[in-house]
């Protein structure tokens, strides 16, 4: 572990924490533009978080420690994931500790705690949201693993920095299997981040919401942390997507400071492009009925499997 690695780890974490709410603001802005509404300011999520931190928390009488701890656990899991996913540099001390499979496990940990906390209070909406979240989660997880395995087959390692090093810094080659993995990954990340074909992040209508239903009982700093965590989740998924499919520009293992600083504006540009694409997909598609979700995510899983098959067939 080098000093540069340690510093780039810190820088990457700070940038993830700072940029995540702005990414959500940017996606909301694009969505507003695309549907001809006047857009909220870019920093609106920050104002929201600040407002919530300044309020007094109201906790239900029969809430257990689980309910109070969950926001911190979920936030910590997402922040740790942000430290593992190589978004700026590949020389990350944290990334040595956890590979792609552990990363999926980290997301699962956050999901399980959020679902348990939603059921802890015992309201109908909380348990409904939790049930649906687990339902979507158990379908999305294998598809995400398959996407990561396709990339692992190419680079011969499940460690994300190695995958990025293989894809970005060796001789340029086209990997057809990544086309399948890319489509599958887009579908999975739409579902995992509670985006439109599966869930609508803007709705608070009882019968359709999934993610929001789980947060209904939270207020003040707890809610702020959970909102920030879901922004971080979107940021993490975007960074995984960028690392797998457009890894160019991420600073290489033994890179100097200049490369890491140069990677930052490139990351912002790529995230802006990704955010716009997300808003475009959300504007163009309609929300699916909840019982169509297995079909949607099943397609994602099969496409990811197909990617692996094509990889074996073409040897690339």
């Amino acid at each position: 572990m080098s000093a540069t690695g340690f510093l780039s780890q810190l820088l990457q974490l700070a940038i993830a924490l700072l940029l995540a709410p702005i990414l959500v603001g940017w996606v909301n802005q694009c969505r507003a533009w695309l549907s001809n509404r006047s857009a909220p300011p870019l920093l609106q999520p920050y104002r929201m978080i600040r407002k919530l931190f300044n309020k007094d928390a109201v906790v239900a009488e029969n809430a257990s420690w689980l309910f109070r701890m969950t926001p911190y656990i979920v936030f910590a899991a997402m922040a740790l994931a942000a430290a593992i996913v190589p978004s700026l540099a590949t020389d990350l001390p944290f990334a040595q500790a956890a590979d792609a499979i552990a990363l999926v496990g980290l997301f699962a940990l956050a999901r399980v705690f959020a679902a348990l906390a939603a059921m802890d209070i015992g309201t109908a909406f909380g348990s409904m949201g939790a049930r649906r979240e687990m339902f979507v989660g158990f379908l999305a997880e294998p598809a995400l693993l398959m996407v990561l395995f396709t990339a692992s087959l190419i680079s011969g390692s499940t460690s994300l920095p190695t995958i990025v090093d293989t894809l970005a810094h060796r001789e340029f080659a086209i990997y057809p299997s990544l086309a399948f993995a890319g489509v599958a990954f887009t579908m999975v990340s739409l579902a995992e981040n509670a985006r439109i074909p599966i869930d609508n992040p803007a709705t608070h209508l009882e019968l359709t919401m999934i993610h929001e239903a789980m947060l209904l009982e939270y207020s003040a700093r707890h809610l702020a942390l959970l909102e920030w965590a879901s922004a971080l989740k979107l940021f993490n998924y975007s960074c995984i997507g960028l690392a797998l499919f457009v890894p160019f520009g991420i600073a290489e293992g033994s890179a100097d400071w200049l490369a890491i600083l140069g990677a930052t504006p490139l990351l912002i540009v790529k995230l802006a492009g990704g955010g716009f694409a997300l808003a475009l997909i959300e504007t163009l598609s309609a929300k699916l009925r909840i019982f169509r979700a297995p079909e949607f995510l099943g397609t994602a899983f099969l496409l990811a499997v197909l990617g692996m098959l094509v990889n074996l067939m073409l040897g690339s």
Binding site: P176, L302, V305, M313, S316
Partner: protein, 221 residues
């Protein structure tokens, strides 16, 4: 491994993957309109790969085949199909005999089967892009599956056309093209088949008031 094959062969591998991806998307699609657009996109991918083969192997006669594919499969046939569904008023309904997730699972099994089948065959070939033979066979079989599992006439015809796309891809990319006469023949065959089937659609609907081909299985009223 991808390192030691030239860039144009890598591009063809990529286009093969796109072709298979589109075949799968067609298998999963419920709407006729989107089905037609996907078919046009598949034709475009096919034209691109043929153009790359023509350029890389210096076979100018393949450019004719590119033009034929572009005009027929990207413009004329989708346009004919669009006009047909507007006049028959069947924009939305695609009904399968088995539900879509099961069809997709069958599709995966077929892909594995096709890959296994093509592996020994493609080892006999000496072209750089021989590995795409399996993908071409898989997309032929997926189109076949679509023809079998769909109940209505128009998706079955699109399945037929998509099958021809897969065959054509096998011919051009895996083996660098067929004689010009054969290509012309196949291209015109498809066009004529489409025109005749178009007439059939109207006759079937006149007779049974629907495009459900199950009505054809009964001999008498």
């Amino acid at each position: 491994m991808p390192m030691n094959i030239p860039l144009w062969a890598q591009l063809i591998n990529l286009l093969a993957a796109v072709l298979l991806l589109l075949a799968f998307a067609m298998l999963a699609q419920r709407r006729v309109l989107t089905l037609i657009n996907l078919f046009a996109a598949q034709g475009f991918a096919l034209a691109c790969s043929t153009a790359i083969v023509a350029f890389a192997t210096h076979q100018p006669h393949l450019y004719w085949s590119v033009g034929l594919t572009l005009v027929l499969k990207v413009l004329v046939l989708p346009w004919l199909l669009h006009r047909l569904i507007v006049r028959l008023d069947v924009k939305w309904d695609v009904e399968g005999l088995i539900n879509i997730p099961t069809t997709m699972l069958l599709g995966i099994v077929l892909v594995v089967f096709a890959f296994n089948l093509a592996l020994p065959i493609s080892q006999l070939a000496n072209t750089v892009t021989r590995a795409t033979l399996g993908i071409a066979m898989a997309s032929v079989m997926l189109a076949f599956l679509m023809m079998i599992t769909r109940r209505k006439a128009i998706p079955q015809v699109i399945g037929f056309l998509a099958m021809e796309n897969g065959l054509f891809f096998a011919a051009t990319s895996a083996t660098y093209g067929m004689p010009m006469v054969v290509e012309l023949g196949i291209g015109l065959d498809v066009l004529v088949a489409m025109l005749i089937l178009g007439v059939f659609f109207f006759q079937i609907r006149e007779q049974f008031d629907s495009l459900d081909l199950q009505h054809l299985e009964k001999l008498k009223e």
